[in-house]
Amino acid sequence: MRGENDLPAPGDKEESFGSSGAGLGGDSESGEAFEALFAKRESADPSTPATEARRHFLIRIGALAAVSGIGGFAISRAIADERSSGEPVGAKIRYGLFVDADRCARGCDACVRACNEEHGLEPEHGIATDPQWIRKVTLLDRRSGRISTLPLMCQHCEEPPCVDVCPTGASFKRADGIVLVDKHICIGCRYCVMACPFQARSFVHEEVTDPKPWSPRGKGTVESCNFCVHRLDASKESEGSASRARPACVEACDTRGYRALVFGDLNDPLDPVARAIAERGGQGLRPDLALDTKVLYRGV
């Protein structure tokens, strides 16, 4: 499992075929060849180094075919095809959020209000049955006396307990790491609310009066932050590339000038979120639970 701050180095591949290549060819060259093949399949941009890797691959595959015969080639291609077709779409992308608590202003709830507005949440009762996809908390460090304030929402765990416990599979993790609830098959058992270590989930306690077409909600089901997945999907440039859209909370924080929230693809080292984490450092909540959360905090 990848640690929270363990972002891939620029040369890293999301998935490596080294093992299967070595297993088949028995030499490191064939492993590289398969790796290159995979890089080509995953690459959406023809100007990437994958083109060069492809050329190298073709040259090397000729030598490999001469050594191991055309049969070996056919088998290896078949296995390569199997692996790539079994890959979930967008698995290369890992959406994540960086929260700089040092920039988060105490008393500001712009992110919370933006989220409520975006998803048609109605927290007007001021009681504990109100839906809360993001909530602001202020913490006092018992040892140092330091006070920090931060937004708390679904942490989009790589190993989400809510997904494990859901009896119907309504709670699920998308290929790009976003944890969602399928409102059509949620039976409202609330076991996921019990299982969430961050109390990030809300149960819809009453009729939804102002539903937004892009954010389905329903009485008797469970819901939580979805990184404004409708925005991400609507603005996705091409399959396999990360969306340039940002969740409503991130936008609101920027508009207020705090810039405490940075959103993007954690797997892309050039993405602002990955760069922010690389430069400023960040840590997930409850690292002892080894859930590999995708919301990383600094200054907490």
Partner: protein, 431 residues
């Protein structure tokens, strides 16, 4: 042993044309209707009319439902004592045991299902199955348990069930039922034991604790139902043999209460030993508001010490063996203790603040953060829970009316298999 054998003809239905019997049915139906009306109101209005909220998401209906489910598997033990452990004294009660197992589980599931946010989508729990979900395992465990108990009951009801040639069948299904009931309560305990996020749960001891609690609460409910049928319907006829069997059940009840308290003590002591669990233990046992009071008064004083004293006696104060009245009182106390225990597990465990930021204190936050959140159950929740209990009782009563569940009397020499003096002889002492 042979003197405990009861012929098929000895088993009789009860309540035919009886006024009090019809009154009981009507009363139970009224409670069930009230429960269904409450569930309908919760479903149409939403759960905001209950005391539940985003912190306490499982409330009183879960306490009722889990109690009934746990008691269901415990109630089946009397049949197991007969079929698996060959204690023939309990054979005449095996049918009631299987009926109660089915009825209590059905009542519990009714509450559990009607408390869902979308009870209309229950079928989805079968069509979309997440194999890693403990809840999904429990759906399977409950379904099979009802099926196995039904087959078990069918085998026990067969006119030739007492035939030695059929003994292997009875024993075989008895072993399956016993194994499955252990799996079921283990699974129920795992619903809590596998919640890594919550400091009050996340412990393997939850599984054996639930098994022990099921033995105890199942026996208590069985004793109460058996005494009710004996004293109100005279089935089985109260007498020396009945008192002797009841005395045996009481002895087992005492052992099960002690066993449960052992697991409760181990759970809390192991938590107290680990510094990281200090806060949660402090909350549950000392400063968690209502929860320590329910623990010490409901679970320990009423649910553990009272039945132990009533059943086992206290030198110079409470003589042993216990009278039938004391046994019934003890069983009632165990039921109260069971509810208190589940209140502590289900609601106390959720009320305790979550450790989201270790070493830090939440000084400003949402209503669901930081300090314990109150939970005041409302009438619909209570009615739904009672509706489940009434449903279980109605199934038992209907089964007693339609099927030959209980014998006219328990025969056999009371002193044959045990050394417990007859209850009627000792009834003058104690309470």
């Amino acid at each position: 042993m042979g003197s405990h054998e009861i012929s098929y003809a000895e088993y009789r239905t009860i309540g035919r044309g009886s006024g009090p019997f019809i009154a009981l049915i009507v009363a139970l139906l009224l409670v069930i209707v009230a429960g269904l009306a409450a569930a309908h109101t919760m479903d149409s209005e939403g759960h905001h009319i209950t005391g539940m909220n985003n912190r306490i998401v499982w409330g009183l209906p879960h306490v009722f439902a889990i109690f009934l489910i746990v008691a269901a598997s415990g109630a089946l033990n009397i049949a197991s004592l007969s079929s698996v452990f060959k204690r023939k004294r309990y054979t005449p009660l095996a049918r009631l045991s299987a009926v109660m197992a089915i009825a209590l589980l059905a009542g519990g599931l009714m509450v559990l299902v009607l408390d869902l946010g979308r009870p209309d989508r229950l079928i989805i729990a079968l069509t979309h199955y997440n194999p890693v979900s403990v809840f999904a395992w429990n759906v399977m465990l409950y379904s099979v348990f009802i099926t196995v108990s039904g087959i078990y009951l069918g085998v026990l009801l067969a006119p030739d069930a007492g035939d030695p040639k059929r003994a292997r069948w009875v024993s075989g299904i008895g072993i399956v039922a016993l194994s499955w009931r252990l799996a079921l309560t283990t699974g129920t305990g795992c619903i809590f034991g596998f919640l890594v996020a919550r400091q009050a749960y996340d412990a393997a001891i939850m599984a054996p604790l639930f098994v022990a609690m099921s033995l105890s609460s199942g026996m208590a409910v069985f004793i109460l139902v058996l005494c009710a049928t004996a004293y109100w319907a005279k089935r089985p006829q109260p007498g020396a043999a009945f008192d002797a069997t009841l005395g045996q059940l009481a002895r087992l009840q005492g052992i099960f209460v002690a066993l449960t308290s052992y697991f409760v003590i181990v759970r809390h002591l192991t938590n107290l030993y680990a510094a990281e669990h200090g806060e949660i233990e402090r909350f549950l046992l000392i400063d968690g508001g209502l929860h320590p009071a329910i623990f010490w008064i409901g679970q320990i004083l009423l649910g553990t010490l009272t039945p132990l004293a009533l059943l086992l006696g206290i030198p110079w104060l409470i003589a042993k063996p216990p009278s039938a009245k004391r046994i019934v009182l003890a069983a009632g106390a165990v039921v109260i203790g069971g509810f208190a225990w589940l209140h502590g597990i289900v609601i106390g465990g959720q009320a305790a603040p979550l450790e989201i930021f270790p070493g830090k204190e939440i000084i400003e936050g949402d209503l669901i953060d930081g300090n314990p959140v109150g939970y005041s159950p409302t009438l619909p929740e209570f009615l739904l829970g009672l509706g489940g209990v009434a449903s279980a009782l109605l199934i038992i009563v209907i089964a007693l009316r339609l099927l030959r569940i209980l014998p006219k009397s328990l025969s056999g020499d009371a002193d044959e298999t045990d050394a417990v003096p007859k209850v009627s002889e000792a009834s003058g002492s104690g309470l």
